[in-house]
Each structure stands twice: as structure tokens, then as C-alpha cells.
């Protein structure tokens, strides 16, 4: 990649197409720039991308024990160790869902015990469909993580001038359809964003992709367009999702969308095979497909820089 690539949207999109570990995405004034991580590792670049504001982890699937990864607790621990080894600790951590495999109490307990290993104490979560698959329809998740949202699943908070919005799109599926936010949550979002300065950076996180990646596998959210109609006026909107266990990104005006790697096992690319199940890869390849995402922030000019790091 050459320096001239940085200067154009086309260049940025070209970098996006590389899709991953070696590329650092930088959002500045709604325009996505990209550079090599090797370059970013220099002191100058590190200063340019600001402080590590938060880390996104996703899809730990604690309790899974099949061929694709017989030790999901072990790889989750390795991801936690990656975060703990960062020279400058992030302010907070987001877990974008599928904390557990089967919503079982002991799986939530193991996950909570593992997450207590983070040096960072501020951890925010949003559930995946695997976390609300108990016979109580989410009772186990909400009894542990429901407090910030008053058991509704959607909530917001501010940190370092950035507004974080946690959405839930894994309840009330329409049979045969995509994930859904629903009218109550959309009404809440409208109220939450009302009166907010368009120059405040927004980070939206939810489990299932908030844009349609592949409809036959339900990789999308049916009514997300209504949310983006409200978010479009903001100068910097970063949308972070999990669910598909691989990095897919998209830019739409000032809104950038990114799914994350899992900490447990990869999934096939859209449409490959009978369905979106665990993908078994050789043991030496697995760590290259699991990892964490660091998002750094610089307030002036507004800049969100995403950096994906795999376990190997």
C-alpha cells in the first residue's frame, strides 16, 4: 500500500477489502482512512490515533466444546491476556454478545469469572441470541447483566465525550426474518439522541449485524434503517457488531459498520455450506481467526481508529 492510497475514498475502500489484521482503519470527520499497522506502531502514528478508548470482544460462546474449538475458555483467556498486555489500558470493554453457548447458568458463571480477569473493570455487554436461548427467554442473561438497561436490553452511556448506544436485536424475531429492534427500542433511541450535538461521536453496538450482510442466514436487522435515519445527522458514527465470527466492514456516509472476530471459533463466509455453524480449521490456523479489536479515540479532530489483533 502506498501513501497515495490514503488520500482517496477509493484507496480506503481498497484497504477495507484486505479485511483485517494488518490494516488500521481511521475515521476522521466521517472519512475512513487506512494505514498499515506496522506504520501505526511507530510512535508518531500512535500519538496520532489518540488513546485506546475501548476494546471490543465478541462471541466467547462459553460452554461450546466441539471440534471447532474444544477449549473456548482457553482462547477467551488468551484474548483477555492480549488486552491486559496493552501498555495503555482502555477505559472500558464492550462484549458484543454470545457470551455463552446455551444460556446455561454455569456458562454465565464461568464467563463472568473469566471476565473478572480483565484489568479494566468497566465492562458493558449486549446479548446474542445464544444468551437468551434459555426456557425463560433471557431470564438468565438479564438476571446477571440486565441492570444497566432495566432489563430491556438497550441503554446508553457517555465516556470521554463519546456517546455509546447499546442496542438489542436478538429478541422478538419475526419468524423467518432478520433480527429486530422493535418500536419501543426505536422510540427510546429517538429520545436518547434528541438534542444531542451532531458533532458528538457515537458508538453503536449490538450483537447481530445492523446492516444486511446475508439475508438467507439472517445476518441483518430488519428495522435498522429506522435507527440509521436518526443517526445519519451525526458526523461520526461507528457501528460494532459480532455474530458472524469474522470481520466485515462497510462505509455509508459518516457511518462505518464493522463486525468483529470471535474469541471462540470462526464461521464460514456468507452462503458457504448449509448454515452459519462453527467452522473447523486446522489447530495452527485457529488463533489467526480469533482476536480482539481496539478502538482509539482522538477528540480534535474527531478520530476513531480501529485496530484488529488476532491471537496469532
Amino acid at each position: 500500500m502506498t501513501t497515495s492510497d490514503f488520500t482517496s475514498r477509493r484507496g480506503a475502500l481498497k484497504c477495507l477489502a484486505y479485511g483485517g489484521a494488518g490494516t488500521l482503519f481511521t475515521l476522521s470527520g466521517g472519512i475512513l482512512l487506512a494505514s498499515d499497522v506496522a506504520q501505526a506502531a511507530t510512535k508518531q502514528m500512535a500519538a496520532d490515533v489518540g488513546m485506546p478508548l475501548f476494546v471490543q470482544i465478541s462471541d466467547s460462546h462459553i460452554g461450546f466444546n466441539k471440534e471447532a474449538n474444544p477449549d473456548v475458555a482457553g482462547t477467551f483467556k488468551q484474548c483477555i491476556a492480549l488486552v491486559n498486555a496493552m501498555p495503555q489500558q482502555p477505559a472500558l470493554i464492550l462484549h458484543t454478545g454470545d457470551i455463552t453457548q446455551l444460556s446455561k447458568p454455569e456458562q454465565f458463571d464461568t464467563a463472568a469469572q473469566l471476565m473478572s480477569g480483565f484489568k479494566v473493570s468497566e465492562i458493558h455487554t449486549t446479548p446474542g441470541e445464544h444468551d437468551v436461548a434459555d426456557a425463560g427467554g433471557g431470564k438468565e442473561y438479564f438476571s446477571r447483566f440486565g441492570k444497566p438497561s432495566n432489563n430491556k436490553g438497550y441503554y446508553s452511556f457517555d465516556s470521554h465525550g463519546v456517546h455509546f448506544v447499546s442496542l438489542i436485536n436478538v429478541l422478538d424475531f419475526k419468524a423467518g426474518g432478520l433480527g429486530i429492534l422493535g418500536p419501543d427500542q426505536l422510540a427510546w433511541l429517538k429520545n436518547d439522541l434528541n438534542g444531542r450535538s451532531s458533532s458528538q461521536p457515537i458508538v453503536v453496538f449490538a450483537h447481530m449485524p445492523l446492516w444486511t450482510i446475508y439475508e438467507p442466514w439472517g445476518w441483518g436487522t430488519g428495522d435498522a434503517d429506522q435507527a440509521f435515519a436518526m443517526l445519519r445527522r451525526f458526523g461520526s458514527v461507528t457501528v460494532l457488531n459480532g455474530h458472524i465470527h469474522q470481520i466485515v466492514s462497510k462505509v455509508e456516509g459518516n457511518i462505518t459498520f464493522h463486525t468483529a472476530r470471535a474469541t471462540c471459533f470462526p464461521q464460514p463466509a456468507a452462503g458457504v455450506g448449509p448454515g452459519p455453524g462453527p467452522l473447523t480449521v486446522p489447530a495452527n490456523v485457529l488463533p489467526t481467526m480469533l482476536g480482539i479489536r481496539t478502538v482509539s479515540y482522538k477528540p480534535h479532530p474527531t478520530m476513531m481508529a480501529l485496530s484488529d489483533k488476532s491471537l496469532a
Binding site: Q101, E129, H130, A133, D134, A135, W217, G218, P276
Partner: protein
């Protein structure tokens, strides 16, 4: 295999096992390859059992709230006794593209 052949096989099985046991056979749903298979039809008072034969977990959740399984791991089952007549649509909440129905006569 033709459906005629399947019917003939089931009939033979019914004759061999005796009526009561054979009646339970159509009330079993095997979940495989992200599918509930063909919709089934049972008589009121029947218990339907779903078995997950996939490596991936699935749920069996009635759209109108009549029944709801926990997440079924590989080999796990869920049963529900249908007392009311009607057609009941259900979905896997982990993979909501998976939809089927139970018709109770």
C-alpha cells in the same frame, strides 16, 4: 426413496410394533441441517418430541407463546403435549430462518 415406499415401510412398522407404539412415530421431529423438515400433523392430546441432530444448538419456540424450549445441544430433545386443535407456527430463535408448523386435528 418414494413416499409410497416410506408409507409402506411405516405401515409395516406399525403392523410389527402394534398400534400404540407406532402412533408415537409421526410425532417425532428431527432437526438437521438447519431445518425442522416437513411440517407435521398430529391428533389432539399428542406429545411431539423434537431432537436436535445438528452440531449447532437450536431452540423450538412457538410464535404465539404456547411453548418454548431451552437451547437444545446436539442430541438433546424437547417435548410438548398439544391439547388444542389448530396450526401452530414455531421458530428456532437462534436461527430464525428455521420455521415450521405443527397442525393439531
Amino acid at each position: 426413496m418414494t413416499s409410497k415406499f416410506i408409507s409402506a415401510t411405516l405401515l409395516a412398522a406399525a403392523l410389527a410394533l402394534g398400534g400404540a407404539q407406532a402412533m408415537t412415530q409421526p410425532n417425532a421431529v428431527t432437526i438437521k441441517n438447519f431445518s425442522f423438515g416437513q411440517p407435521i400433523s398430529v391428533t389432539a392430546g399428542s406429545t411431539v418430541t423434537w431432537r436436535n441432530s445438528d452440531g449447532e444448538p437450536h431452540t423450538v419456540v412457538s410464535v404465539d407463546g404456547l411453548f418454548r424450549s431451552a437451547a437444545l445441544d446436539t442430541g438433546e430433545t424437547f417435548s410438548f403435549k398439544f391439547t388444542k386443535q389448530g396450526t401452530f407456527k414455531y421458530v428456532c430463535t437462534i436461527h430464525p430462518r428455521m420455521v415450521s408448523t405443527v397442525t393439531v386435528k
